[in-house]
Symmetry: C2
Subunit: 362 residues, 2 copies
């Protein structure tokens, strides 16, 4: 135990031979002080290796200088990058980032937000399962804690840094149509807990209809199916007449390719695949992935900037959706000869789940 108790501003004041108030004023540059005492205080502080106690400050100022962030998972690079973007903006502002993951669990979401609120965060940046009916989010509002969303469509007066998933997905449908695809499918993980996926499907579905394509098959995969190429290929095999698949994220798109090849389908000749997100690695692949490129880091930056404004008392302002960009790639092409005779529309095999309703946002 070589180290005594933490040195406080009281110690500094004593050593500098002045009052606590004066020491505080000097150290914070927050009031008058003679050059003489100023020097003494500064010396004392550095001699003692003084540094402020965050707890003392937080208590007195009623600000923790801490921002809470909730994302589904950091294992998903999209969210990891977004957090990175938040960091970028926060660094240098004096705010620190408190982070929490829910693993895509709606109950954990609310629990996590409550815990964050307990920690007296000065603001929240949130991506969660159901922000529109979150009790915890309402609690934040009650407590006057500003909230800024990421990835969601703006909801309930809460500003959100997002891309327009619906519109982006329509783009994909147009690309498929342009190349002559008729039969498509939408593959998703956790459809129920991701409004992003739902909006993408809704946009894709709407535009397929508008362009006269068949309604896309909606396939929701389990975690296990997505990660086991053999299982995935068994599912693909049932989609015999489909010539183009829109995967709700890039990982899935990559897995689909592998699964397709396992059952002897060539990509893109027998099956076109388009992903979503635009993760870096997609570009570096041997067969570059066609995808909707988004900028998660920019989303993080925007969410943080918006929140910072709110903490200053500025009213919440909703920025326009962030841009996305259709990046074409070698996984996308005209349907090959195998399917050319398939103009006649056959019913889906019964095992394929197909959602006809428009699921756009709620």
């Amino acid at each position: 135990m070589p180290q005594k108790a933490k040195t406080t501003i009281k110690d500094v004041a004593r050593r500098a031979g002045c009052g606590i108030a004066t020491a505080s004023r000097v150290l914070n540059n927050s009031g008058p002080a003679s050059a003489d005492v100023r020097k003494r205080v500064e010396k004392a502080a550095s001699d003692l290796g003084f540094s402020f106690s965050a707890a003392g400050r937080a208590l007195q100022s009623r600000r923790s200088m801490t921002i809470g962030c909730l994302v589904p998972s950091l294992a998903n690079p999209v969210f990891a990058e977004a957090v990175q973007g938040i960091q970028e903006v926060l660094s240098g502002t004096g705010y620190q980032l408190l982070i929490s993951c829910s693993n895509y669990d709606g109950a954990a979401d609310n629990q996590a937000i409550e815990t964050l609120l307990t920690k007296d965060v000065d603001g929240l940046i949130v991506t969660m399962v159901a922000p529109d009916r979150s009790a915890a989010l309402r609690l934040a509002k009650t407590r006057n804690v500003p909230v800024s969303l990421m990835f969601h469509d703006p909801i309930d007066g809460l500003p959100s840094a997002h891309v327009d998933n619906f519109e982006a997905a329509r783009d994909v449908a147009r690309q498929f149509a342009k190349l002559g695809h008729k039969r498509t499918a939408f593959l998703s993980l956790r459809f129920a807990s991701s409004d992003r996926s739902r909006n993408r499907y809704a946009g894709f579905h709407a535009e397929c209809r508008a362009l006269g394509l068949c309604d896309p098959a909606l396939i929701e995969l389990t975690e296990a199916e997505a990660n086991a190429p053999e299982k995935l290929s068994r599912i693909l095999a049932q989609l015999d007449s489909v010539t183009a698949i829109f995967a709700s994220n890039d990982f899935l798109a990559i897995a689909v390719q592998k699964a397709a090849r396992l059952i002897g389908w060539r990509v893109p000749d027998d099956l076109s695949v388009v992903g979503f997100d635009g993760i870096e690695i997609g570009r570096l692949l041997d067969v570059p992935l066609a995808t909707i490129e988004t900028a998660p880091e920019a989303m993080g930056r925007q969410a943080a900037a918006t929140l910072l404004n709110m903490t200053q008392g500025v009213a919440a302002t909703q920025m326009p959706p962030l841009p996305y960009h259709f990046r074409t790639g070698a996984t996308l092409a005209r349907p090959g000869p195998k399917n050319h005779d398939d103009d006649q529309v056959a019913p889906w095999p019964p095992s394929v789940l197909s959602l006809k309703t428009d699921l756009k946002q709620g």
Copy 2:
């Protein structure tokens, strides 16, 4: 401004008609209280929607219930997963995670740790450029803030959750040798700021020597080179006689494959490629990547568990290195015919940087 000031325990006590001390005891279950008053306090608390102020508690208890974490970047999934692992262990313990990124910058590292210390964190989990000579880390020691490392070899009495990079890299050399490779290269990003890369190279180099292979060429890439396949292929082109490349991480390994194909080399026939880390996507690729599989999430879990022990006053204990596993893949094979006549060792082209010294740790 519908909301008045935050409700405090004082309000609860008043409403319950008891003293503050009693209310505190009830709410914390930390002392005796009659069933009667207990009920009243609980009702008052719930009526008022009371929740403790973290600041008040932190000040009084001298514990912030907060753990600081510094990693180079969350954009690297290895670190993101490690943080995810930390979260897993921390969740439910009452500790929250304060996180910071340095972008692989040694100065930012120290700055970030100091900021974290300023926030009165109860412990630190750190991956940084130079933990062995970090002033900020020494400061943490002075302040009696426990520190646990991730990914580094244990240093200076600081426990670290890590894999043995040196040994793992020797495995790679053995695999290459077993298949008959003679000329190899080690590709790395940020060699100077990553002791992990240095240890991997050192182990690879040592084992190549021990097995009678040529000393591996050491190629340090810039960020730009690693992300632009054309640039990378220009570099590869200079490594004409090399038949096997060990990339210091999987992303690089994937980029190398693409670059190789750009100049007409087949993988693995003309060039074998092995990565490091074992990121999930490597398995799902069309051509599955050979790599050293590690468990970043387990590293995070171990680091967090160790730290938690330390905060309880238990002396720091160094766990054995975490296991790794050589995962073979379609990117690794015997050298093809093209290089079979290459038993005669020729000098490296002058443009290729080759490090002969053993760089193992420091």
